[in-house]
């Protein structure tokens, strides 16, 4: 039985803490290539209601059955640090590196883009593709499929240029990333 005066002073529940700025981070994660690993890793993001901007996975060591996951995500430094530690404690996770915080690194992505058009537009598309050093991997009389590798920004720029020239479909791999210099994971 609380004293009445105190009762008036109690506001219902406290306010949520103010949060820090949201930044993009690229994480490289080495895991055992076994069922459920990806779901556990991704769950640390989805469980918080966070979106993953890019996700790339493939086995990189066939004898040890190890895969490398590259995730581009955004969050406050504090939350990403949390996720980093929580990734490290997962049983099938061997190593986690936050490439964004650990110095300079390279990010590359591959994209396939289908462009449909005739006459001048077709020629212009080919010329731009050439200047971007994109490969033409499929050709019909009224379409091309271009293959382009590069930084995500370069691919974005290429897509923007292709849009008025008949771009109808895009498939991107998501980024593969690696730290610069001689140090390896």
């Amino acid at each position: 039985m609380v004293r009445k005066s105190l009762q008036d002073k109690i506001s219902v529940y406290g306010a949520a803490p103010v949060s820090d700025p949201i930044l993009s981070h690229t994480l490289a994660i080495i895991v055992d290539n076994e069922p459920g690993v990806l779901a556990r890793v991704v769950g640390l993001f989805t469980g918080r209601g966070y979106n993953i901007e890019s996700l790339t996975v493939a086995e990189t060591d066939h004898t040890k059955k190890l895969s490398r996951i590259t995730i581009l995500c955004s969050g406050t430094v504090h939350i990403i640090e949390q996720i980093h530690h929580q990734l490290e404690r997962l049983v099938p996770v061997h190593y986690v590196s936050n490439l964004t915080l650990e110095g300079a690194h390279i990010e590359r992505e591959l994209a396939l883009m289908k462009v449909v058009g005739q006459k001048e537009k077709r020629i212009e598309a080919l010329q731009i593709a050439d200047s971007f050093r994109a490969k033409t991997v499929d050709t019909t009389l009224d379409s091309f499929v271009f293959e382009l590798t590069g930084s995500p920004e370069k691919i974005d720029a290429f897509i923007d240029l292709m849009r008025p020239l008949g771009l109808i479909e895009v498939s991107r791999t998501g980024i593969a990333a690696m730290a610069r210099g001689k140090k390896g994971i």
Partner: protein, 608 residues
């Protein structure tokens, strides 16, 4: 890989399990089926008891259980209870608890228990049956995506598709469940894999190196921490469930270190018993319903030594006002706990036993002594807070106060020669039990802290009683919570378990009512426990013993009688319906903004 995996460094090797000659398994034959491998692997991992409930997808395992004598199966009456019983077994013995449930509804019923074990870091293995591999993904009868559903409520889970990998998976599961920060592990086993013949590998031949969490502390950080501790003027030890999980040795070392320094010590709900609560250096529990002295000491301290606790929101209250002037040392086995909520000035990843051992060694080697005059005035301040007598209540007249009932229970326990184990359900009664019962040893207090699961206490008591048949096991319960797993009365009767259910019956979901009274304008929306059963008759209907106390005189009598019963006993203690649990830090408030009971002594802030 050029870089070593950081968590591989400085590992403490687990002792190698005893070697078992290949053909000498519990079934006395050379080739085993998947179901028999499960039993053999469990025996080799030291299992003697498993809590479970049968069904189509685990029949081969039940068949194998029937044909051996090493493992005792305890038939519960609901799969949630199997998990809580396994938790009670684990927490009261320090071993891994085991459960066995069928596919689909069996597995989904187990989810609450798994989540409970995850939040309280309890080592539990749960074997779930699954439909045959060729039917997985077809919406087969009693199919559920068990590994999908339990992924986020287990430390690790496995779907076993190859019988030849089964034994290695089970051995790894035990290793994962108990190493590092303990937790629940699910092994989902399709029925065809249970039937399939396969080869068995004993634990000693299984490679467990991929999961080797760090247990040894960084000595330079230990030295810095001990120096900070020695120079403190207003220090406090804040200890949690991690000390209990680390084992009895950790509790012994904690007691030694706290006594050596002469500093005050407070514990979380999960940490009670690691340091003797009857000792004058213990300030009682801290947090939302913690003592006035513990919370004020946390707020005003200059050095906080957190060992195995995780700055839960029920402990910190308003974060930006949490212990604003202190330097914080945080020792935890889980690196992701450090800096998660509160920034640590010194964060040490280690097993509590190893960290405490190292700290004591450094303290002795450097011949540190506490700052006597500072400590004296710190204790004077603490005694000022103590003099508020925040747990005061008034027992007068014929209505039993819940706190009074617990003090009477404690008195009876003190007089009893048996070892005693206390479990609780969730609500006011749980908080009162934490405030009024005294634990001087680890592993004798079991409560659902992280998840706050109503219905935990009774099955957990069953698990503890199975592990300690001659002990006194009491579930302190509320009238609402006990109904959540009341069916376990049958289990207790079947196995002749003399568990005592001590219901503090206020005819309300008391804790819900308290929040509605204090924070929601006294609008008691759906918190009255209408249509309660007659608990005495209910106990009798199950074949147990029921008693009721409505007055203090009756209370003495029923407690005395309850201590003598040899069957499951429900004691229905009718307590004051209006009593609230104080002190209380309303959510979002700071430690020094506690609300005190009207029965507490007045606190004059100008005095300190």
């Amino acid at each position: 890989m050029a870089n070593a995996k950081p968590k591989m460094k400085l590992v403490k090797q687990a002792p190698a399990p005893k070697k078992i000659a290949e053909a000498k398994n519990v079934f006395g034959k050379k080739d085993l089926t998947g179901a028999e491998i499960v039993i053999q692997a469990m025996v080799d991992n030291g299992v003697d008891t498993i809590f479970g409930y049968p069904g189509g997808a685990v029949l081969p395992i039940y068949d194998a259980l029937f044909q051996q004598k090493k493992i005792k199966h305890i038939l519960v009456r609901h799969e949630q209870a199997a998990l809580h019983a396994a938790e009670g077994y684990a927490r009261s013995t320090g071993k891994v608890g085991c459960a066995l449930v069928t596919s689909g509804p069996g597995a989904t019923n187990a989810v609450t228990g798994l989540t409970d074990a995850l939040l309280d870091s309890i080592p539990v293995i749960c074997i779930t049956g699954q439909v045959p591999t060729f039917l997985i993904g077809t919406d087969a009868f009693q199919e559920a995506d068990t590994t999908g559903i339990t992924r986020h409520c287990t430390k690790q889970n496995y779907l076993v598709r190859d019988v030849n990998k089964l034994s290695a998976i089970i051995h790894e599961a035990f290793h994962v469940a108990k190493s590092g920060r303990p937790g629940p592990v699910v092994i989902d086993l399709p029925k065809d894999v249970q039937f399939a013949p396969g080869s068995y590998t004993p634990p000693a031949k299984t490679d467990l190196t991929r999961y080797q969490p760090r247990t040894m502390p960084d000595m330079s950080k230990i030295e810095a921490a001990v120096e900070m501790i020695a120079n403190a003027k207003k220090p406090i030890f804040y200890t949690g469930g991690g000390v209990i999980n680390a084992g009895a040795e950790a509790a012994k070392l904690l007691t030694e270190f706290v006594r050596m320094t002469g500093y005050p010590c407070t514990s979380t709900l999960m940490g009670l018993g690691a340091y003797p609560m009857t000792d004058k250096q213990h300030l009682g529990m801290l947090g939302m319903h913690g003592t006035f002295e513990a919370n004020w000491a946390m707020h005003d301290c200059d050095v906080m030594i957190n060992i195995g606790a995780r700055f839960d929101d029920r402990v910190t209250g308003r974060l930006d006002a949490f212990s604003p002037h202190s330097k914080k040392i945080h020792i935890d086995i889980d690196a992701s706990s450090i800096n998660k909520i509160v920034r640590a000035d010194i964060g040490i990843v280690a097993d509590a036993t190893e960290a405490l051992r190292a700290m004591i060694a450094v303290w002795k080697k450097k011949k540190y002594t506490p700052n006597a005059s500072a400590l004296k005035s710190w204790w004077k301040e603490i005694d000022g807070w103590r003099s508020v007598k925040c747990l005061n209540y008034k027992q007068s007249g014929n209505i039993i106060k819940p706190q009074y009932a617990l003090e009477k229970l404690q008195a009876a326990i003190n007089k009893d020669k048996r070892e005693s184990f206390i479990t609780t359900e969730v609500g006011q009664h749980q908080m009162w039990a934490a405030q009024f019962l005294k634990f001087d040893k680890p592993n004798h207090w079991m409560t659902s802290g992280g998840l706050g699961t109503m219905g935990y206490g009774f099955p957990a008591a069953i698990g503890a009683q199975i592990a300690h048949p001659n002990a006194l096991v009491v579930d302190v319960a509320g009238d609402a919570s006990i109904l959540m797993n009341i069916q376990e009365m049958s289990t207790a009767v079947q196995y002749k378990l003399p568990v005592k259910i001590f219901i503090l019956n206020n005819q309300w979901m008391g804790m819900v009512k308290q929040w509605q009274e204090l924070l929601h304008g006294e609008r008691y929306s759906s918190s009255y426990t209408e249509s309660l059963p007659d608990f005495v008759k209910l106990a009798e209907a199950y074949g147990g013993i029921g008693m009721r106390a409505e007055t203090p005189a009756e209370l003495d009598k029923v407690i005395a009688e309850m201590m003598k019963t040899d069957k499951v006993t429900i004691v229905d203690v009718c307590v004051d319906q209006r009593e609230n649990c104080f002190p209380m830090i309303p959510s979002g408030k700071a430690h020094n903004e506690m609300i005190l009971s009207a029965d507490a002594e007045k606190f004059d802030k100008t005095l300190v």
